[in-house]
Protein backbone atom coordinates (compact mmCIF):
# COMPACT_ATOMS: atom_id res chain seq x y z
CA UNK A 1 0.00 0.00 0.00
CA UNK A 2 1.28 3.41 -0.82
CA UNK A 3 2.17 5.46 2.10
CA UNK A 4 2.31 9.15 2.56
CA UNK A 5 5.85 10.23 2.91
CA UNK A 6 5.60 12.12 6.12
CA UNK A 7 9.10 11.68 7.19
CA UNK A 8 12.28 12.73 5.52
CA UNK A 9 12.57 16.17 3.94
CA UNK A 10 10.11 18.69 5.21
CA UNK A 11 8.85 21.22 2.69
CA UNK A 12 9.58 24.76 3.77
CA UNK A 13 6.38 26.61 4.67
CA UNK A 14 7.29 29.41 2.33
CA UNK A 15 4.63 31.02 0.15
CA UNK A 16 5.53 32.70 -3.10
CA UNK A 17 4.51 36.30 -2.56
CA UNK A 18 5.41 37.64 -6.00
CA UNK A 19 1.87 37.77 -7.44
CA UNK A 20 0.60 39.35 -4.25
CA UNK A 21 3.24 42.07 -4.38
CA UNK A 22 2.45 42.63 -8.06
CA UNK A 23 -1.19 43.11 -7.27
CA UNK A 24 -0.42 45.44 -4.38
CA UNK A 25 1.74 47.69 -6.50
CA UNK A 26 -0.84 47.70 -9.26
CA UNK A 27 -3.44 48.95 -6.79
CA UNK A 28 -1.03 51.50 -5.33
CA UNK A 29 -0.30 52.82 -8.81
CA UNK A 30 -4.00 52.98 -9.57
CA UNK A 31 -4.74 54.98 -6.44
CA UNK A 32 -1.83 57.35 -7.01
CA UNK A 33 -2.94 58.06 -10.55
CA UNK A 34 -6.64 58.46 -9.87
CA UNK A 35 -6.23 60.76 -6.89
CA UNK A 36 -4.12 63.26 -8.81
CA UNK A 37 -6.32 63.23 -11.91
CA UNK A 38 -9.68 63.58 -10.22
CA UNK A 39 -8.97 67.11 -8.92
CA UNK A 40 -10.83 69.23 -11.42
CA UNK A 41 -9.12 72.06 -13.23
CA UNK A 42 -10.63 75.48 -13.46
CA UNK A 43 -10.43 78.51 -15.63
CA UNK A 44 -10.21 81.93 -14.08
CA UNK A 45 -12.69 84.33 -15.62
CA UNK A 46 -13.26 87.97 -14.83
CA UNK A 47 -16.34 89.67 -16.17
CA UNK A 48 -16.72 93.41 -16.40
CA UNK A 49 -18.38 95.09 -13.47
CA UNK A 50 -21.98 96.03 -14.18
CA UNK A 51 -21.99 99.05 -11.94
CA UNK A 52 -22.32 101.98 -14.32
CA UNK A 53 -21.68 104.51 -11.59
CA UNK A 54 -18.18 103.24 -11.10
CA UNK A 55 -16.08 105.39 -13.41
CA UNK A 56 -12.95 103.31 -12.87
CA UNK A 57 -14.19 100.40 -14.87
CA UNK A 58 -14.38 102.23 -18.17
CA UNK A 59 -11.46 101.12 -20.25
CA UNK A 60 -10.48 102.99 -23.35
CA UNK A 61 -9.84 100.78 -26.32
CA UNK A 62 -8.13 101.59 -29.55
CA UNK A 63 -10.49 100.71 -32.38
CA UNK A 64 -7.71 99.66 -34.69
CA UNK A 65 -6.29 97.29 -32.12
CA UNK A 66 -9.56 95.72 -31.07
CA UNK A 67 -10.77 92.47 -32.47
CA UNK A 68 -14.36 91.50 -31.75
CA UNK A 69 -15.25 87.84 -31.89
CA UNK A 70 -18.92 86.91 -31.95
CA UNK A 71 -19.72 83.33 -31.02
CA UNK A 72 -22.55 81.85 -33.01
CA UNK A 73 -24.16 78.47 -33.30
CA UNK A 74 -22.71 75.31 -34.87
CA UNK A 75 -19.26 76.23 -33.50
CA UNK A 76 -19.01 79.16 -35.91
CA UNK A 77 -17.68 82.61 -35.15
CA UNK A 78 -17.80 86.00 -36.81
CA UNK A 79 -14.99 88.44 -36.18
CA UNK A 80 -14.13 91.94 -37.25
CA UNK A 81 -11.50 94.52 -36.43
CA UNK A 82 -12.27 97.96 -35.08
CA UNK A 83 -15.73 99.38 -34.73
CA UNK A 84 -18.86 97.49 -35.72
CA UNK A 85 -19.82 98.08 -39.32
CA UNK A 86 -16.48 99.61 -40.28
CA UNK A 87 -15.26 96.37 -41.79
CA UNK A 88 -17.26 93.41 -42.95
CA UNK A 89 -17.11 90.53 -40.48
CA UNK A 90 -15.28 87.38 -41.39
CA UNK A 91 -17.05 84.10 -40.76
CA UNK A 92 -15.17 80.97 -39.90
CA UNK A 93 -15.25 78.00 -37.62
CA UNK A 94 -14.14 78.32 -34.03
CA UNK A 95 -11.22 75.94 -34.47
CA UNK A 96 -9.73 78.17 -37.11
CA UNK A 97 -10.02 81.51 -35.39
CA UNK A 98 -6.64 81.18 -33.66
CA UNK A 99 -4.82 81.83 -36.93
CA UNK A 100 -6.85 84.99 -37.48
CA UNK A 101 -6.07 86.18 -33.97
CA UNK A 102 -2.34 85.73 -34.54
CA UNK A 103 -2.54 87.51 -37.88
CA UNK A 104 -4.56 90.40 -36.51
CA UNK A 105 -2.24 90.80 -33.59
CA UNK A 106 0.73 90.97 -35.91
CA UNK A 107 -0.95 93.63 -38.00
CA UNK A 108 -2.02 95.61 -34.95
CA UNK A 109 1.45 95.51 -33.44
CA UNK A 110 2.97 96.62 -36.73
CA UNK A 111 0.58 99.56 -37.08
CA UNK A 112 2.47 101.53 -34.42
CA UNK A 113 -0.68 102.62 -32.63
CA UNK A 114 -0.15 102.74 -28.89
CA UNK A 115 -2.02 100.38 -26.60
CA UNK A 116 -2.47 96.69 -26.17
CA UNK A 117 -4.10 94.35 -28.63
CA UNK A 118 -7.57 93.68 -27.27
CA UNK A 119 -9.92 90.83 -28.00
CA UNK A 120 -13.57 91.38 -27.23
CA UNK A 121 -15.55 88.16 -26.93
CA UNK A 122 -19.28 88.37 -27.45
CA UNK A 123 -21.07 85.08 -26.86
CA UNK A 124 -24.50 85.27 -28.48
CA UNK A 125 -27.59 83.26 -27.66
CA UNK A 126 -26.70 80.73 -30.33
CA UNK A 127 -23.44 79.67 -28.75
CA UNK A 128 -23.02 77.07 -26.04
CA UNK A 129 -20.87 76.87 -22.94
CA UNK A 130 -18.18 74.84 -24.66
CA UNK A 131 -17.69 77.52 -27.33
CA UNK A 132 -17.16 80.10 -24.65
CA UNK A 133 -14.63 77.98 -22.76
CA UNK A 134 -12.86 77.12 -26.01
CA UNK A 135 -12.38 80.71 -27.06
CA UNK A 136 -11.17 81.76 -23.63
CA UNK A 137 -8.77 78.85 -23.64
CA UNK A 138 -7.53 79.82 -27.09
CA UNK A 139 -6.85 83.36 -25.90
CA UNK A 140 -4.94 81.99 -22.93
CA UNK A 141 -2.84 79.76 -25.19
CA UNK A 142 -2.13 82.66 -27.53
CA UNK A 143 -1.29 84.85 -24.52
CA UNK A 144 -3.68 87.62 -25.46
CA UNK A 145 -3.41 89.65 -22.28
CA UNK A 146 -6.34 91.98 -22.67
CA UNK A 147 -9.55 90.14 -23.24
CA UNK A 148 -13.03 91.29 -22.47
CA UNK A 149 -16.27 89.40 -22.26
CA UNK A 150 -19.35 91.27 -23.31
CA UNK A 151 -22.66 89.47 -23.50
CA UNK A 152 -24.93 92.44 -22.91
CA UNK A 153 -24.16 94.79 -25.75
CA UNK A 154 -24.64 92.70 -28.84
CA UNK A 155 -25.53 95.23 -31.48
CA UNK A 156 -28.49 94.78 -33.78
CA UNK A 157 -26.23 95.13 -36.80
CA UNK A 158 -24.11 92.28 -35.47
CA UNK A 159 -27.16 90.13 -34.94
CA UNK A 160 -28.42 90.92 -38.45
CA UNK A 161 -25.16 89.98 -40.09
CA UNK A 162 -24.93 86.78 -38.10
CA UNK A 163 -28.49 85.85 -38.96
CA UNK A 164 -27.76 86.37 -42.63
CA UNK A 165 -25.01 83.76 -42.33
CA UNK A 166 -27.28 81.43 -40.43
CA UNK A 167 -25.15 81.27 -37.32
CA UNK A 168 -27.52 82.91 -34.88
Amino acid sequence: MAELNTGGKKATPRVDMTPMVDLMFLLVTFFILTTSISTPQAMDIVKPDKDDNNKDNRLELKASKTMTILLGKNDKVAWYMGEAGATAPTYESLSQVDKSIIENRKKADASGVKGEFVVLVKPTSGSNFKNFVDIMDELEILKVKVRQIDDDNILDSEKESMKSQGIL
Binding site: V21, M24, V28, F31, Q41, M43, S125, V133, M136
Partner: protein
Protein backbone atom coordinates in the same frame (compact mmCIF):
# COMPACT_ATOMS: atom_id res chain seq x y z
CA UNK B 1 43.94 20.87 -6.39
CA UNK B 2 40.47 21.43 -5.12
CA UNK B 3 38.14 23.16 -7.53
CA UNK B 4 36.84 26.57 -6.60
CA UNK B 5 33.33 26.13 -5.41
CA UNK B 6 30.90 28.65 -6.73
CA UNK B 7 28.32 29.10 -4.10
CA UNK B 8 24.86 28.83 -5.56
CA UNK B 9 22.49 31.17 -3.83
CA UNK B 10 18.84 30.60 -4.28
CA UNK B 11 17.03 33.10 -6.48
CA UNK B 12 14.02 33.14 -4.22
CA UNK B 13 13.92 36.42 -2.34
CA UNK B 14 11.83 37.01 0.67
CA UNK B 15 8.98 39.15 -0.53
CA UNK B 16 7.34 39.61 2.83
CA UNK B 17 8.91 42.99 3.49
CA UNK B 18 8.04 44.26 0.04
CA UNK B 19 4.50 43.06 0.46
CA UNK B 20 4.24 44.86 3.76
CA UNK B 21 5.38 48.15 2.24
CA UNK B 22 2.94 47.80 -0.64
CA UNK B 23 0.08 47.04 1.71
CA UNK B 24 0.98 50.02 3.85
CA UNK B 25 1.03 52.35 0.85
CA UNK B 26 -2.21 50.91 -0.42
CA UNK B 27 -3.93 51.47 2.91
CA UNK B 28 -2.62 55.01 3.04
CA UNK B 29 -3.90 55.87 -0.42
CA UNK B 30 -7.28 54.28 0.12
CA UNK B 31 -7.77 56.19 3.34
CA UNK B 32 -6.60 59.56 2.04
CA UNK B 33 -8.48 59.34 -1.26
CA UNK B 34 -11.70 61.26 -1.10
CA UNK B 35 -14.53 59.14 -2.32
CA UNK B 36 -16.25 60.51 -5.36
CA UNK B 37 -19.59 61.90 -4.43
CA UNK B 38 -22.53 60.78 -6.51
CA UNK B 39 -23.74 63.69 -8.57
CA UNK B 40 -27.45 64.34 -8.88
CA UNK B 41 -26.86 66.26 -12.10
CA UNK B 42 -24.35 64.68 -14.41
CA UNK B 43 -22.54 67.17 -16.57
CA UNK B 44 -19.68 66.75 -18.98
CA UNK B 45 -17.46 69.76 -18.61
CA UNK B 46 -15.60 71.22 -21.57
CA UNK B 47 -11.85 70.82 -21.64
CA UNK B 48 -9.22 73.53 -21.44
CA UNK B 49 -5.47 73.83 -21.01
CA UNK B 50 -5.77 75.91 -17.87
CA UNK B 51 -3.90 74.41 -14.95
CA UNK B 52 -5.63 75.95 -12.02
CA UNK B 53 -6.93 73.63 -9.34
CA UNK B 54 -10.41 74.17 -8.03
CA UNK B 55 -9.97 75.15 -4.39
CA UNK B 56 -11.17 72.52 -1.92
CA UNK B 57 -12.21 75.13 0.63
CA UNK B 58 -13.93 78.50 0.52
CA UNK B 59 -15.61 77.58 -2.67
CA UNK B 60 -19.14 77.20 -3.94
CA UNK B 61 -19.86 75.24 -7.07
CA UNK B 62 -22.83 75.91 -9.29
CA UNK B 63 -23.56 73.00 -11.57
CA UNK B 64 -25.44 73.98 -14.69
CA UNK B 65 -26.99 71.40 -16.98
CA UNK B 66 -30.29 70.73 -18.75
CA UNK B 67 -31.37 74.27 -17.94
CA UNK B 68 -31.20 73.57 -14.21
CA UNK B 69 -28.81 74.81 -11.60
CA UNK B 70 -27.52 72.90 -8.60
CA UNK B 71 -25.59 74.30 -5.69
CA UNK B 72 -22.77 73.08 -3.49
CA UNK B 73 -20.68 74.82 -0.88
CA UNK B 74 -17.45 73.33 0.43
CA UNK B 75 -16.91 72.48 4.10
CA UNK B 76 -19.34 70.86 6.54
CA UNK B 77 -19.25 73.72 9.04
CA UNK B 78 -19.90 76.24 6.30
CA UNK B 79 -22.80 74.16 5.00
CA UNK B 80 -24.37 73.98 8.43
CA UNK B 81 -24.07 77.72 8.92
CA UNK B 82 -25.42 78.39 5.43
CA UNK B 83 -28.54 76.36 6.18
CA UNK B 84 -29.06 78.23 9.43
CA UNK B 85 -28.87 81.54 7.60
CA UNK B 86 -31.21 80.31 4.87
CA UNK B 87 -33.64 79.16 7.57
CA UNK B 88 -33.58 82.60 9.13
CA UNK B 89 -34.16 84.28 5.79
CA UNK B 90 -37.05 82.05 4.70
CA UNK B 91 -38.50 81.70 8.24
CA UNK B 92 -38.02 77.95 8.31
CA UNK B 93 -36.86 76.26 11.49
CA UNK B 94 -34.36 73.52 10.78
CA UNK B 95 -33.74 71.07 13.59
CA UNK B 96 -30.11 70.38 14.60
CA UNK B 97 -30.56 66.93 13.10
CA UNK B 98 -31.59 68.38 9.75
CA UNK B 99 -28.64 70.74 9.82
CA UNK B 100 -26.35 67.81 10.52
CA UNK B 101 -27.85 65.91 7.60
CA UNK B 102 -27.50 68.89 5.32
CA UNK B 103 -23.84 69.34 6.18
CA UNK B 104 -22.96 66.07 4.46
CA UNK B 105 -25.09 66.69 1.37
CA UNK B 106 -22.79 67.86 -1.40
CA UNK B 107 -24.58 69.00 -4.54
CA UNK B 108 -28.31 69.56 -4.34
CA UNK B 109 -30.98 71.27 -6.34
CA UNK B 110 -34.30 71.66 -4.56
CA UNK B 111 -36.33 74.76 -3.73
CA UNK B 112 -36.11 75.94 -0.13
CA UNK B 113 -39.75 74.98 0.48
CA UNK B 114 -39.09 71.30 -0.18
CA UNK B 115 -35.73 71.24 1.58
CA UNK B 116 -37.19 69.66 4.73
CA UNK B 117 -38.75 66.73 2.90
CA UNK B 118 -35.57 66.41 0.83
CA UNK B 119 -33.46 66.06 3.97
CA UNK B 120 -35.85 63.45 5.34
CA UNK B 121 -35.18 61.22 2.33
CA UNK B 122 -32.54 58.53 2.20
CA UNK B 123 -29.42 59.10 0.15
CA UNK B 124 -30.59 56.77 -2.60
CA UNK B 125 -34.02 58.41 -2.86
CA UNK B 126 -32.44 61.83 -3.29
CA UNK B 127 -30.65 60.65 -6.42
CA UNK B 128 -33.83 59.44 -8.09
CA UNK B 129 -34.69 61.37 -11.25
CA UNK B 130 -37.34 64.01 -10.80
CA UNK B 131 -36.64 64.57 -7.11
CA UNK B 132 -34.20 67.42 -7.60
CA UNK B 133 -35.65 70.00 -9.92
CA UNK B 134 -32.98 72.65 -9.59
CA UNK B 135 -32.80 75.82 -7.56
CA UNK B 136 -35.30 78.50 -8.63
CA UNK B 137 -33.61 81.46 -10.28
CA UNK B 138 -36.64 83.49 -11.39
CA UNK B 139 -36.46 87.17 -10.71
CA UNK B 140 -39.48 86.96 -8.40
CA UNK B 141 -38.13 84.11 -6.31
CA UNK B 142 -34.38 84.11 -6.75
CA UNK B 143 -33.26 81.47 -4.30
CA UNK B 144 -29.90 80.97 -5.98
CA UNK B 145 -29.09 84.54 -5.09
CA UNK B 146 -29.89 83.81 -1.43
CA UNK B 147 -27.85 80.62 -1.39
CA UNK B 148 -24.77 82.30 -2.83
CA UNK B 149 -25.16 85.27 -0.52
CA UNK B 150 -25.61 83.16 2.62
CA UNK B 151 -22.80 80.82 1.63
CA UNK B 152 -20.52 83.83 1.28
CA UNK B 153 -21.59 85.10 4.70
CA UNK B 154 -21.12 81.65 6.24
CA UNK B 155 -17.68 81.20 4.68
CA UNK B 156 -16.61 84.60 5.95
CA UNK B 157 -17.88 83.73 9.44
CA UNK B 158 -16.47 80.23 9.70
CA UNK B 159 -13.20 80.48 7.78
CA UNK B 160 -12.61 84.25 7.73
CA UNK B 161 -11.89 83.90 4.02
CA UNK B 162 -13.65 85.18 0.92
CA UNK B 163 -15.53 82.57 -1.03
CA UNK B 164 -14.83 81.75 -4.66
CA UNK B 165 -17.59 80.80 -7.03
CA UNK B 166 -17.00 78.00 -9.50
CA UNK B 167 -19.27 77.29 -12.40
CA UNK B 168 -19.46 73.75 -13.62
CA UNK B 169 -21.34 73.92 -16.86
CA UNK B 170 -22.25 71.24 -19.33
CA UNK B 171 -20.49 71.58 -22.69
CA UNK B 172 -23.77 71.55 -24.56
CA UNK B 173 -25.48 74.08 -22.31
CA UNK B 174 -26.70 77.08 -24.23
CA UNK B 175 -24.94 80.30 -23.37
CA UNK B 176 -28.07 82.26 -22.31
CA UNK B 177 -28.64 79.78 -19.46
CA UNK B 178 -25.08 80.36 -18.25
CA UNK B 179 -25.50 84.09 -18.68
CA UNK B 180 -28.63 84.07 -16.54
CA UNK B 181 -26.73 82.44 -13.68
CA UNK B 182 -23.71 84.70 -14.12
CA UNK B 183 -25.99 87.76 -14.06
CA UNK B 184 -27.35 86.64 -10.68
CA UNK B 185 -23.81 86.59 -9.34
CA UNK B 186 -22.87 89.88 -10.93
CA UNK B 187 -25.75 91.51 -9.12
CA UNK B 188 -23.89 90.60 -5.94
CA UNK B 189 -20.73 92.07 -7.43
CA UNK B 190 -19.14 88.68 -7.86
CA UNK B 191 -17.24 89.33 -11.07
CA UNK B 192 -14.60 86.64 -10.79
CA UNK B 193 -15.47 83.07 -11.56
CA UNK B 194 -13.82 79.76 -11.96
CA UNK B 195 -15.08 77.68 -14.81
CA UNK B 196 -14.55 74.02 -14.04
CA UNK B 197 -13.00 72.24 -17.00
CA UNK B 198 -11.30 68.99 -17.83
CA UNK B 199 -7.56 69.02 -18.23
CA UNK B 200 -6.40 68.94 -21.81
CA UNK B 201 -2.92 68.57 -23.23
CA UNK B 202 -1.54 71.80 -24.59
CA UNK B 203 -1.30 71.92 -28.35
CA UNK B 204 2.13 72.40 -29.78
Amino acid sequence: MPRIKVKRTSTVTDMTAMCDVAALLLTFFILTATARQPEPLAVSTPSSTYEFKVPAENNATLTIGQGKVFFEVAGQKVRARTLELIGQQYKINFTPEEIKKFSVVSTFGVPVSSLKSFLAMSGADRMKPGVQTGIPTDSTDNQLNSWVLQARTATAEVNQQPMRVSIKGDSKEEYPVVKKIVDVLQKQKVNKFLLVTNAEARKK
